[in-house]
């Protein structure tokens, strides 16, 4: 048993010596070599890391150390890596840098037995030198990622009643398009470098255009875009007021337009009998009222009008036929009381206008007859 242990120890010492010699005359002066190797070894215990297993096996077989074309520590060239997908994250946990299970039987007083990993973990001559952390994360091989496209992202002030579309135009043709998110943000990837017109559109809003430079591997930002609403197309009500008997246009007639909220607009007819209400609200109904003396009151329901449309009305007024009433049947209610002036019992002249602003009861009577 003791011999076996000794022989095993001898083998390990031999291997360790070879290992030390190898590193002593090889890359040991380069601190960056050792650290990543340890890192690679650690990765063998972490199955979640996408690493070539060949590198991870390094401690048990030194031949692997000098062979890998994929030495994780190759920090020599500055590969510009903008694409996160090419970065290999290697765990830095060194706790698992232990000897193989067989080595566990080695007497504890022989610390050199553990040299293969120990040397890698902290080479004596490199102690205290921390390799740049970025080198740990460099890819295992010399991947040169050539970024040939850029991105555009931006923010448009939120609007609630329309979708926002973003078009990337070059020479008048759209090379990319996207619909902005509900909050007005958008991002368009994979745009070739160049100068573009970015066109932002939304229904019922003015088109906004901006010139944007897209560079490879960069994100061009186009923020603070505020869309301006287009003025709603005007909505009008126009009409003509005619006398029912003569068919003549009626001039100077007061026309009232009542909206759904009870708001009143007024217009007077022109010599042509025409009247108009400009820029009335769309999509709501109205009642048009003409209530003037000598004509029967007219109420016309105006159906809701679509934006940009003109409602055309013709209102025919029916004259109040004062003379049509039989003699003695009086006047129509609603007409203006005819003006008069008569003497009273004392000879004092009294006119109807004397009582303006006050109700007056007129009592016609036969007298003593």
């Amino acid at each position: 048993m003791t011999n076996r242990i000794i022989s095993q120890s001898a083998i390990w010492i031999f291997l360790g010596t070879v290992f030390i010699v190898w590193f002593g005359c090889g890359d040991s002066e380069d601190p960056s070599v050792d650290k990543p190797t340890v890192t690679e070894e650690a990765s063998t215990d972490d199955s979640s890391v996408d690493k070539p297993p060949t590198v991870a096996d390094a401690p048990t077989d030194n031949t692997n150390v000098n062979t890998p074309p994929v030495v994780a520590d190759a920090p020599t060239d500055n590969v510009r890596v903008d694409n996160p997908r090419t970065i290999v994250e290697a765990p830095t946990d060194n706790a698992n840098v232990d000897t193989p299970p067989a080595v566990a039987d080695v007497p504890t007083n022989n610390t050199n037995v553990d040299t293969p990993p120990a040397v890698e973990d902290s080479p004596v001559d490199d102690a205290g030198i921390d390799p740049p952390p970025v080198e740990k994360d460099t890819p295992a091989d010399d991947v040169i990622v050539e970024v040939v496209v850029g991105s555009l992202q931006g923010q448009v002030a939120q609007i609630e009643d329309a979708h926002i579309h973003v078009h990337v135009l070059q020479n008048g043709a759209a090379v990319a398009s996207a619909q902005a998110n509900l909050d007005g943000s958008y991002q368009i990837d994979d745009i070739k470098p160049g100068t573009y017109i970015v066109q932002i559109t939304a229904e019922d809003y003015k088109v906004v255009e901006r010139t944007v430079q897209v560079r490879a591997g960069e994100v061009s930002v186009l923020d603070n875009i505020v869309l301006e609403a287009l003025a709603p197309p005007p909505t009008h009500i126009r009409g003509l007021v005619l006398d029912q008997q003569t068919n003549a246009p009626l001039d100077g007639i007061r026309v009232q337009l009542i909206d759904e909220a009870g708001g009143v607009r007024e217009a007077l007819t022109k010599q042509t009998g025409g009247f108009e209400f400009e820029n009335v609200p769309a999509d709501q109904g109205f009642v048009l009222i003409i209530d003037i003396e000598k004509y029967e009151k007219q109420e016309v329901t105006v159906d809701p009008i679509s934006a940009g449309e003109i409602a055309k009305l013709q209102v025919v007024l029916d004259p109040i036929h004062i003379d049509a009433l039989p003699i003695g049947d009086g006047l129509h209610v609603g007409v203006t009381a005819p003006a008069f002036e008569l003497p009273d019992q004392d000879g004092k002249r009294r006119a109807l206008t004397d009582y303006a602003g006050q109700k007056v009861v007129l009592a016609f009577d036969r007298g003593r007859w």
Partner: protein, 94 residues
Amino acid sequence: MQKSYKAIAAEGAELLFITSDQLAADFRTDFPKLLDPETTVIDAYNATDPLNHKIARPLYYIVDENGIIRWKFLDVRLRGRLDPAKLVEALKGL
């Protein structure tokens, strides 16, 4: 009508009695009696008695503050008179 005059006045209205009969002016009343012997105003208000164009038939109007006729009464009987209570009621309703 004389009895109802206070009630009419209480509604803020004035009562003008209009007739072509000169002698009617002799009746003692609190309200003014206007004389229209030529029936000019009687005709203008179409209150002419169809059977006697020289006199008015009983006919009643309420003219509002703006001079517009808002109410009128004529009895189905040509010479029937108005119950003054109805007039006061009409004034209250205007």
